[in-house]
Structures are given as structure tokens and as C-alpha cells.
């Protein structure tokens, strides 16, 4: 915790923030990218969201009080940025958020930045059909192997609620995959 505080102070201090921010980027860009990518599906969208996330982290670092880890705080920003992008784009094209994601997943087969097999596409389809909250919980728990406590901080949902969501998500996915 002490080392985190020192790092946060370095990010806030104009003298040291450049090098501290470079370290932050090096440490977290890939983890955040993959988290974002699983929400928005396409690389270009993930790239936009990743950049916005780090810019917002930088712009708002002075408001970070250190009550959570910087990692969960950044995850929270990345999650909201990703969901906002989906909202904006689906609104622009006159479809629901779910339809937007399902369209993206349906194009995975021809996506040059995706090389999953048929089972993998079925898994992504099943995940895309989940309600938004269950989709987020499933991605964080199953793919990112995050602890419920951390997911709870990021999504602002109780651990009990998350466990129920995950259980429901797994049930639906298994059912869809086995169909």
C-alpha cells in the first residue's frame, strides 16, 4: 500500500508524473486492452477506448483518493469508457447495445484480428447474448480470473450479486454451447 501511495504521489507530482505515467502505461496497457477488447470485440474500438482510458486516468489522477487500488480504479474507468462507446455507436446506428455487440461477434469469423475456431466463436456468441452485467461479470471472472472483491469494487455490485450473476451466466453459456 505504501508503494502504491508513493506511486500515486509520483503520478500527481508534475516533476515525476511523466516517468510515472510511462510506467503506468507499461504496466497496465495490455491488461486493460484485453479487458476492453472483450467488451467491445473489435480492435479499432478497443484501441480508441484504451487511449481514452489512459487520457482520463491522467486528467483525473489528482481526484484519485487511494481508497481502492489504482488497478481497480483504472478498470472502472476502462469499463465505463467501453460501455459508453457501445452506447454511442449503437445509438448512432439505431440499434440496441446488445444488437451492436451481436453484430460485432457475427463478424468475428472474417476479422483478421481474430483466429478462434468454431467453438471459440460459439463461446463469444453465447457471451454476447448475455445481459450487459452478466457479460461483464463473466468476462472478468472467467477470462480475467479476477476476485469477486475486485469485481465488486469495479462494478459497484455486492459480492453475492456477482456470484449469482456469474452462476446465471455460466448456466446460459453452457446451455447455448451444448445446443
Amino acid at each position: 500500500m505504501e508503494s502504491q501511495n508513493q506511486f500515486i504521489n509520483a503520478l500527481k507530482n508534475p516533476e515525476t508524473q511523466s516517468s510515472a505515467f510511462t510506467k503506468l502505461l507499461a504496466d497496465y496497457k495490455e491488461r486493460l486492452y484485453w479487458h476492453i477488447r472483450k467488451i467491445v470485440i473489435e480492435h479499432d474500438d478497443a484501441d480508441d477506448v484504451l487511449q481514452n482510458t489512459f487520457v482520463k486516468v491522467f486528467q483525473n489522477i489528482n481526484g484519485f483518493k487511494g481508497n481502492s487500488t489504482i488497478y481497480t480504479w483504472m478498470y472502472k474507468i476502462a469499463t465505463n469508457e467501453a460501455l459508453n462507446l457501445i452506447k454511442k455507436k449503437s445509438k448512432r446506428y439505431g440499434v440496441s447495445n446488445e444488437e451492436w455487440i451481436q453484430t460485432k461477434v457475427s463478424r468475428l469469423e472474417s476479422d483478421s484480428y481474430f483466429d478462434g475456431d468454431e467453438l471459440s466463436i460459439r463461446l463469444q456468441n453465447a457471451v454476447a447474448n448475455l445481459p450487459e452485467k452478466q457479460r461483464l461479470v463473466f468476462n472478468m471472472k472467467y477470462f480475467d480470473e479476477m476476485k469477486y472483491d475486485n469485481i465488486s469494487e469495479i462494478l459497484g455490485t455486492s459480492v453475492g450479486g456477482l456470484k449469482a450473476s456469474y452462476h446465471q451466466a455460466v448456466k446460459k453459456i453452457k446451455k447455448q454451447i451444448n445446443e
Binding site: 480504479w73 452506447k87 477470462f143
Partner: protein, 154 residues
């Protein structure tokens, strides 16, 4: 015959049930499927430089409240001025579209941070439009209480 009822003639491979969960999980495994998504070559080394170029170190961007209010007021006045004009011609219509898109794409903080030339730039690059009611609704959606607490780590 009644004894036969208790004999199961069918067999499974050794440890089949112990290994079943692992085998199933292996089919849709995290590592296997995380790498299904690809990124362009050297993406992660390039993106660092792109992000750094968007940030002005030693000059944290803070928008004073009066500047924020001034920006919002200017956007509203401009919008009223354009929409209240009864002789709507093509140019005005285009301008309205640009404003709609501008309102949709930028947060109020970003609007407050833009200078007067920004919209001229937007006019040149304008390629899509959206109904202004949708734009305003979207603004409201994107500034829900959840998002207003976005940077609150409590």
C-alpha cells in the same frame, strides 16, 4: 434378476469423472481463447507513444468553473441562435448537423476546453449527422449519476 439391477455393465475411462471438469474447461480455456483476439504488429509499443502524445505533462488540464459555465452557455446560445432562425437554408442545416454531432461527441468539459476554431475544423471533417434530440438524450445518458461518479474511487 433383482441382483442384476445393481450391476452396472457400462464403464468409463479411469479418472473420467475427476478429469471431466478440467477437460471441459480446457475446451473453452482462458489462455486458448484470450489469444484468439489479435492486435496489429507492434501495437502495444506504438500505442504508448500515441497516448503520451495526447498528454501535456506538467500542465494538468483543469477547467475552471467559470470557463466551464461560459463554454456551456456559449454552446446553448449558439444552438438557440441557429435553431431560432426562421429562414433555414442549406448552410444553416449543415451547421445544425455539425452542432448536433459536436454535442454528441464531446462532453461538456471537453466543449468548455475547446477554442473557437474547433468547430470550423469539425465543419471540414463532418461526415455524419444525428438528430439533435438524440444528441441531447445521449448527453443525458452519458452523464448519468453512475458516470458522474466515474472517477470517484470511494
Amino acid at each position: 434378476m433383482s441382483d442384476l439391477k445393481n450391476i452396472n455393465p457400462f464403464r468409463v475411462p479411469n479418472n473420467y469423472f475427476n478429469d471431466f471438469d478440467e477437460n471441459l474447461k480446457g475446451k473453452i480455456d482462458l489462455e486458448n481463447h484470450k489469444i484468439d483476439f489479435k492486435v496489429p504488429e507492434n501495437y502495444f509499443s506504438k500505442v504508448e507513444a500515441i497516448i503520451i502524445s495526447q498528454i501535456h505533462f506538467n500542465k494538468t488540464k483543469t477547467v475552471p468553473i467559470f470557463r466551464y459555465l461560459l463554454g456551456v452557455a456559449a454552446a446553448i446560445m449558439g444552438f438557440i441562435f441557429i435553431t431560432s432562425d426562421t429562414s433555414v437554408d442549406d448552410n444553416t442545416e449543415t451547421t445544425v448537423f455539425i452542432l448536433e454531432d459536436y454535442l454528441m461527441e464531446n462532453s461538456t468539459y471537453e466543449i468548455a476546453g475547446h477554442n473557437a476554431d474547433y468547430l470550423s475544423y469539425e465543419m471540414i471533417n463532418m461526415d455524419q449527422s444525428i438528430n439533435y434530440e438524440d444528441a441531447l438524450e445521449l448527453r443525458l445518458l452519458s452523464e448519468t449519476p453512475m458516470n458522474l461518479n466515474l472517477f470517484d474511487d470511494e
